[in-house]
């Protein structure tokens, strides 16, 4: 069975070159991708439940990653949703421990190859990829 991935971008962070390559790489590996924009991380949780996804991926390139991750962790806990979350973009390594504390499974900093992210997603979901 193919994995279903929710990729989400903060509505006012216009940097989408990274997420475009990730969407493309996931689809090339046969994954189903739902791509949404959100203003409030609660919207991510809602979509994730409705679409019944295996993984949530967030992109952040303007320094709002801590803000999003904190709110998302709270929203997931409130709705008792247990879906792994990964995050990628312009994220300083110094913030990684904090993000991991909030339950982010993996942080992909600038320059990460899309393949690395896709491989990690398939590990998380246990799906076989070609």
């Amino acid at each position: 069975m193919s994995s279903k991935v929710l990729l989400a971008r903060f509505a006012l962070d216009g940097h989408d070159r990274g997420i475009i390559t990730i969407i493309n790489a996931c689809r090339e590996k046969g994954m189903e991708v739902i791509y949404i924009h959100f203003s409030d991380p609660k919207e991510i949780v809602k979509s994730a439940m409705e679409e019944d996804v295996d993984v949530i991926g967030i992109t952040s390139s303007m320094g709002q990653h801590l803000y999003i991750a904190a709110k998302l962790a709270k929203a997931l806990a409130e709705d008792k949703v247990d879906i792994p979350v990964i995050i990628g973009g312009v994220i300083p390594t110094i913030d990684v421990p904090k993000l991991e504390d909030w339950g982010i499974k993996k942080v992909f900093g600038p320059g990460t190859s899309p393949e690395e992210a896709v491989n990690f997603i398939s590990q998380l979901t246990g799906a076989r990829i070609d």
Binding site: R9, F10, A11, L12, D13, G14, H15, D16, R17, I20, T21, N24, H37, S39, D40, M62, G63, Q64, Y67, I68, K71, V90, P92, T93, I94, D95, G109, P110, G111, S113, P114, E115
Partner: protein, 570 residues
């Protein structure tokens, strides 16, 4: 250009050279000759001779078609402007950053101050800090500016007739300009005295970032309104800065960047003519912000080619006679996407080479990216270093002593012509598909840029393209550059509090009435021919202390729009 004897000699030398390469390298050393192309895919030879530039015309700087420079004297008379785009937090933090940069050497012409202000995402989209959609991004990557008070905090103490003020907005340029006019009026300045820049190129962001706004056709109307107002009342104001930068950041090739910029320029100018403007009355106040990436000579050729193409198009297509319409001014923003988070100090080298290319091409102004931009927002140390790159090139290398130092180079002149040729092919393609706006509305441009980005990434992953520190020459131990940070939550609280106080100290009935007039003016503005009534209504609204978000909100209530742009089809 060359005598027959010189060309004969070149032919002879070239034949000998070919023989030596073939016998000495290919046959004797079994060397397989590499196949090189530029970023735009132009195949390169290994050496260039007069035979490649037989048709080259004799040109000089300051004369048509201005390939070699738009003025008789270049940096000898005035160095390029070091305009660092900056902004974060509230207008207070940004003001401190402006002061810091000016102290370190950010400077315009004749030593005059410049303030190229990046605004935050809510400001650029016209959401006030108290708008729920703004939460989480207030002060991020730019200043939060929603009231005349904010402008005052940003610009207090600067002589507005001498300071080059350039707020960098998306589709909120028009209400921002209205606010700036009213702010300046309060300080005793007349519109005709003001000297600065509106970017007025929201469409470039519509296709290069995934943020929406009013539909492209509406955005075009807002741009025309701004140009019309400036042409009538603000002769010193640069109404439009056509941005090629973001296409470059989306991996468009240099030729594609020029092709897109020029096809959109032509369409915009045609719309301005529909709005009743004579070409020579507004074309002189166009300029461009271009991307400069790492293909050193092709970037130089691109900048030279743009000047020549602009001059020819304005003269031949629009019949311009005023030399200022033909002299195209260029600001370069060094390519942020060329920077790596890995081994970040290498980025200083990248920026230095990009600025050197810029200077060798003789442009008017430069923004240099900071070495820490792949890690986060730039720190003070990093922006100071970016300024130093410019100062070292200007004061230590001597490259600014001679105008167009590469003019006459067989290679650079040949490449300048080739880039023009390739750019014209892109323009033809866009016009064949119905023009720039149509190529936004049918998704073609967005598709092109997305596929360029994906291709770029594939080339890195396959090793076809080398990025030092990223996919080659990696280090085990990463050098850590401390990321620049500020208190986001506190910024948000302060911005909302200031806005609350601003609204408490105004006549709300008057504000409401003036917004109604903005709606009415927008409603009446159906075709380009009807341009001219919206800006006066916005100025009245700014006088009634309406906020940027309220003014933009009134426009969008009438026009409608989208939150994001990807996937849009008209």
């Amino acid at each position: 250009m060359f005598s027959e004897a010189a060309l004969d000699k070149a032919r002879k030398l070239q034949q000998e050279w070919r023989r030596e390469v073939s016998q000495g390298y290919e046959q004797k050393l079994k060397f397989e000759l590499p196949q090189y192309t530029t970023e735009s895919g132009i195949p390169l030879k290994y050496i260039y001779t007069p035979l490649d530039v037989k048709e080259m015309d004799v040109e000089i700087s300051g004369a048509y078609p201005y390939t070699r420079g738009i003025r008789p004297l270049g940096y000898q008379y005035t160095p390029w402007m070091i305009q660092i785009l900056h902004g974060y937090g509230t207008s207070e933090e940004t003001h401190h950053r402006t002061e810091y940069l000016l102290k370190e050497g950010m400077v315009g012409y004749a030593g005059q101050p410049v303030a190229l202000i990046q605004v935050d995402p809510p400001t650029t989209c016209g959401y006030d800090p108290d708008d729920p959609r703004a939460s989480g991004t207030i002060g991020l990557g730019g200043a939060s500016v929603s009231t005349l008070d904010d402008l005052d905090v940003l610009l207090k103490g600067y002589d507005l007739a001498k300071t080059r003020v350039a707020p960098n907005n998306r589709f909120t340029c028009l209400p921002m300009l209205a606010m700036y006019l009213v702010y300046a009026e309060g300080r005793g300045y007349k519109p005709q005295e003001l000297n600065g820049q509106s970017q007025n190129d929201a469409l470039t962001r519509w296709i290069t970032t995934d943020i929406g706004g009013p539909t492209p056709a509406t955005q075009q109307k807002l741009r025309i309104e701004l140009i019309k107002y400036c042409t009538q009342y603000m002769p010193r104001w640069n109404h439009t800065n056509l941005c090629g930068y973001l296409y470059g950041e989306m991996c468009a090739t240099p030729a594609q960047e020029l092709g897109i910029v020029l096809s959109q320029a032509i369409e915009l100018i045609e719309d301005c003519i529909k709005a009743g403007l004579a070409p020579d009355s507004f074309i002189p106040r166009f300029s461009s912000q271009l991307h400069v990436g790492m293909d050193f000579f092709e970037e130089i050729a691109k900048l030279r080619a743009l000047r020549g193409m602009w001059a020819k198009i304005m003269r031949e297509r629009f019949g311009c006679k005023d030399p200022r319409s033909l002299q195209y001014r260029i600001h370069v923003h060094t390519g942020g996407s060329a920077l790596t988070a890995q081994q970040p100090l290498s980025n200083i080298t990248r920026a230095a080479l990009q600025v050197l290319a810029t200077v060798l091409a003789g442009v008017q102004s430069n923004h240099t990216c900071s070495y820490d931009e792949a890690i986060g927002l730039p720190s003070e140390d990093a922006v100071r270093t970016a300024i130093r790159v410019n100062q070292i090139i200007l004061h230590e290398t001597g490259v600014a002593k001679v105008s167009d130092p590469l003019g006459g180079s067989y290679y650079v002149e040949w490449l300048t012509d080739k880039v023009e040729e390739e750019a014209r092919k892109v323009m033809t393609e866009i016009f064949d598909l119905g023009g720039f706006l149509n190529c936004i509305e049918n998704g073609w441009l967005r598709g092109l840029l997305e596929s360029q980005s994906i291709k770029w990434r594939r080339e890195i992953d396959s090793g076809k393209r080398t990025i030092v520190g990223l996919n080659a020459f990696k280090t085990e131990e990463e050098i850590e550059v401390p990321p620049f940070a500020f208190d986001l939550a506190q910024t948000e609280r302060r911005a909302i509090e200031q806005l609350r106080r601003w609204k408490a100290n105004r006549d709300n009935a008057e504000a409401r009435d003036s917004l109604q007039k903005v709606r009415e003016a927008m409603q009446k503005y159906q075709t380009m021919e009807q341009a001219g009534d919206l800006m006066p209504a916005l100025i009245e609204a700014a006088r009634a202390k309406c906020t940027l978000g309220e003014m933009m909100g009134a426009i969008v209530e009438v026009s409608g729009g989208r939150i994001y742009s990807r996937g849009y089809r008209a």
